[in-house]
């Protein structure tokens, strides 16, 4: 510490009669002149780097499911402000467009819901990877979380947003279609899981523009094929509930597999150790 610690009269009491207070003050005055030239930041960092090997091995936190979920929710809440406003505006626009189309007499609300369902998530993926796209992962690392934690929080956020928007839209079209809410939910949720899994796989493999173009092409092909064939529409809208549930389970498995892949990839990101400067 370069700062000198002055001795006050109370402190001096403990020195008893051996010391004269004024004498001490005079000495203090002299000693304050002793300056310390401290090593610069690079030298201190070199010491820290040398010490890294002695830090105990990382132990896996035995946090239970609820604790993990709470951490994830907290992380996602932080991400709300970080995710760009354009994303939120786009989501709102998509919802309004979805609402308007599904409430038009000549449009099939269920098909519209199926087609629009994965879009907020896919657009959101651009937000998940925006640090990678702009070469800012190193900067993102300077907060309290690891890269995989940041991505997982954003995925959770856009996933929840997407499902919430779709569910609200489902509730609004339920009276229009006359079908039970659960059935409508299953109708869009099953293809949704497959699209999400594909989108995740593509986003891990390719960068922003390539990923978006590829996904949109696949999405358009799917829409084109579906609406050009009445049998396909019938099949898609009238799948047996058991098959629906099996497909939903399989789609969910694919999503969890892709999320795991993503975590593995960015957990081993170069320099991707916990780096915290916001203390």
């Amino acid at each position: 510490m370069s700062r000198f610690n002055p001795i006050n009269k109370t402190d001096n009491d403990e020195l008893e009669e051996r010391f004269d207070y004024n004498e001490y003050q005079a000495l203090e005055q002299e000693l304050t002149d002793y300056l310390v030239k401290f090593p610069d930041e690079d030298d201190i960092n070199a010491t820290i780097d040398t010490m890294r090997q002695y830090v105990p091995a990382q132990t896996t936190k035995s946090a239970n499911g609820i604790e993990r979920l709470i951490t994830l929710c907290k992380g996602s809440a932080t991400e709300v402000t970080i995710v760009s406003k354009i994303y939120w505006i786009t989501c709102t626009m998509l919802f309004i467009i979805g609402y308007l189309i599904t409430h038009q007499a000549n449009a099939n609300p269920l098909l519209t819901l199926i087609f629009l369902a994965p879009l907020p998530f896919v657009i959101g993926l651009l937000e998940v990877f925006k640090g990678r796209e702009h070469g800012l992962l190193e900067i993102e690392l300077t907060c309290k979380f690891t890269t995989d934690q940041i991505m997982l929080s954003r995925l959770f956020l856009i996933g929840i947003t997407n499902v919430t928007l779709n569910t609200v839209l489902t509730l609004t079209i339920s009276p229009v279609t006359g079908k039970p809410i659960l059935e409508i939910l299953l109708t869009w949720l099953t293809p949704f899981t497959f699209f999400i899994a594909i989108a995740l796989w593509l986003s891990i493999k390719f960068k922003g523009q390539v990923f978006v173009t590829t996904f949109l092409s696949l999405w358009l092909v799917f829409i084109g094929l579906t609406i050009s064939n009445n049998h396909w529409i019938e099949a898609l809208l009238n799948i047996n509930i058991v098959i629906h549930l099996i497909c939903l389970g399989f789609g969910s498995l694919l999503i969890s597999f892709q999320v795991k892949q993503l975590i593995n990839k960015y957990q081993t990101y170069e320099g991707g150790q916990r780096v915290e400067i916001n203390y």
Binding site: N5, E30, D33, Y34, V36, P39, I44, T50, V55, R274
Partner: protein
């Protein structure tokens, strides 16, 4: 800012980042102590690194009782003592004694040129104190520790700390006066 205790808990579970924060938080305090103790920048840098390595190696044994800063300072005190007992120091000390005359000449020139002349003088005076006196003077004056805390850190009785402080203070006083006296004599000679 996170407390030392929570950082230590994170280090124990393998957090590199917590280690970085903890080191940066206490680096200046330890470096300042070491530098004032050994009086050499490069040596102080190396010793500081060794002190922090010792700290991280024994962090699992830190019980959390007492201030972490004092625990760390105790490692620094012991490590500097180890250094003074080491062959490296004894060898260096021998060489220093041989070169004393030459170094003194050079130092005088440096001192005169230095803008921080006063600092150099105080440093020289502190460097001349015997290690055990220097230790208590630094802990009392620069680290702001109480007699009781110094006694705990240095593992001696409070009376011994007081006695060392008294001796150190008297010696410092005479050393600093001596420097002033030498300087005024030199200055007078130059003026003539």
């Amino acid at each position: 800012m996170q407390s030392d205790q929570s950082l230590i808990e994170e280090i124990k579970s393998g957090s590199q980042a917590a280690m970085e924060v903890l080191v940066k938080k206490h680096y200046r305090m330890i470096f300042a102590y070491t530098y004032r103790k050994v009086g050499d920048y490069h040596l102080a840098y190396d010793l500081t690194q060794e002190i922090f390595i010792k700290m991280i190696k024994s962090i699992k044994n830190y019980s959390g009782q007492g201030k972490f800063q004092h625990w760390l300072l105790k490692i620094a005190v012991n490590h500097c003592r180890d250094y003074y007992r080491s062959r490296a120091y004894k060898y260096k000390d021998k060489i220093t004694k041989i070169d004393h005359q030459v170094v003194d000449e050079r130092k005088n020139v440096e001192d005169l040129l230095s803008k921080k002349q006063r600092s150099v003088k105080v440093k020289a005076a502190i460097d001349q104190l015997p290690p055990y006196q220097r230790e208590v003077i630094i802990l009392k004056f620069y680290q702001g520790l109480k007699i009781k805390q110094i006694a705990q850190l240095t593992e001696v009785k409070e009376a011994t700390v007081k006695s060392r402080l008294k001796q150190g203070k008297d010696k410092l006083k005479s050393l600093l006066k001596g420097v002033d006296h030498d300087e005024s004599v030199q200055s007078n000679q130059q003026n003539r």
